[in-house]
């Protein structure tokens, strides 16, 4: 197996081989990114079955359209766009449930308050096992409202730009920014409850 740990060179090479019909090269790309795509799909659809469908459809569609992929951009960024579109399409199909369309205005105007104010432990993530930490982080994201969750996922987990996020979700730039602000502050609250330094609060600083 070609080492694909880092190195854009290796990845570019894999993409080129996949384009010329090398199935094993494409399988390597899939293996590298399936976890991230599945997490993305799960965080948007909040449903294992839908997430699996999105995962398959995204990789199949990417394979089909591999010739359209411009090699100067990153393969993963290109793949994320496909996966997000698939996930949003699936959400729209689910008409029966109470899902709010992501491009619908949400009230982000209410006061941005911070209730939990406490210093964190040093490297709090070291206190948890990797699996446990992932569970905490995933559950915290999934407890956000869909409108906030998706923006956070794209901006802070997939590291897309504000503009890319706005375009993908059909939102204005100010809408992306205000949702991101709310998402970050809400997650901060949730994590503070777990990560705060015991026996000390902010007043220690006064």
């Amino acid at each position: 197996m070609t080492t694909t740990e880092t190195g854009t060179f290796d990845e570019a090479e894999l993409v080129r081989r996949a384009k010329s019909g090398d199935t094993s090269a494409y399988s390597e790309l899939v293996t590298k990114y399936e976890g991230k795509v599945f997490r993305l799909a799960k965080n948007i659809t909040q449903n294992d079955e839908d997430a699996e469908d999105v995962l398959q459809d995204a990789f199949l569609k990417a394979y089909e359209h591999l010739d359209n992929f411009q090699e100067q951009s990153k393969f993963y960024t290109w793949l994320v766009r496909i996966a997000v579109n698939e996930a949003l399409m699936r959400l729209r199909k689910r008409k029966t449930d109470r899902t709010v369309p992501l491009d619908e205005p949400v009230d982000t105007g209410e006061e941005t308050v911070a209730r939990e104010i406490a210093v964190w432990e040093d490297d709090p993530e070291q206190r948890y096992e990797k699996t446990e930490l992932r569970r905490i982080l995933d559950e915290s994201v999934q407890s956000l409202k869909p409108a906030f969750r998706t923006v956070f996922q794209l901006r802070d987990i997939e590291e897309l730009s504000t503009e890319e996020t706005a375009e993908l979700l059909g939102l204005s730039i100010p809408a992306v920014k205000s949702r991101l602000l709310r998402a970050r502050l809400q997650l901060r609250e949730k994590l503070t409850r777990l990560f705060k330094r015991k026996g000390e609060d902010v007043f220690a600083y006064l």
Binding site: G21, T23, G35, I117, A118, V141, E159, L187, L191, Y205
Partner: protein, 84 residues
Amino acid sequence: MLTCKEFLQEISDFLDENVDQELRQKLEAHISQCPNCFVILDTTKKTIQVYKGVDAQPIPSDVHQRLMLAIEKKCAARRQTSAS
């Protein structure tokens, strides 16, 4: 000086270094005098870092197998089309 509420409204852009110099100075002046907002800024920054630092969980093996099977099928179909 900015109020805490005003500070919180800007915290996200501040962390993304997406504020002009004048606003940045006001925000910095605020945290130098407001320990609460200093802590909020610091823990919001750490929140983002924690998410960036964690890899996705490996997918369940049955999900992986079904995905690979679907891709193999697709590849085989494509080979057939291009061969004919």
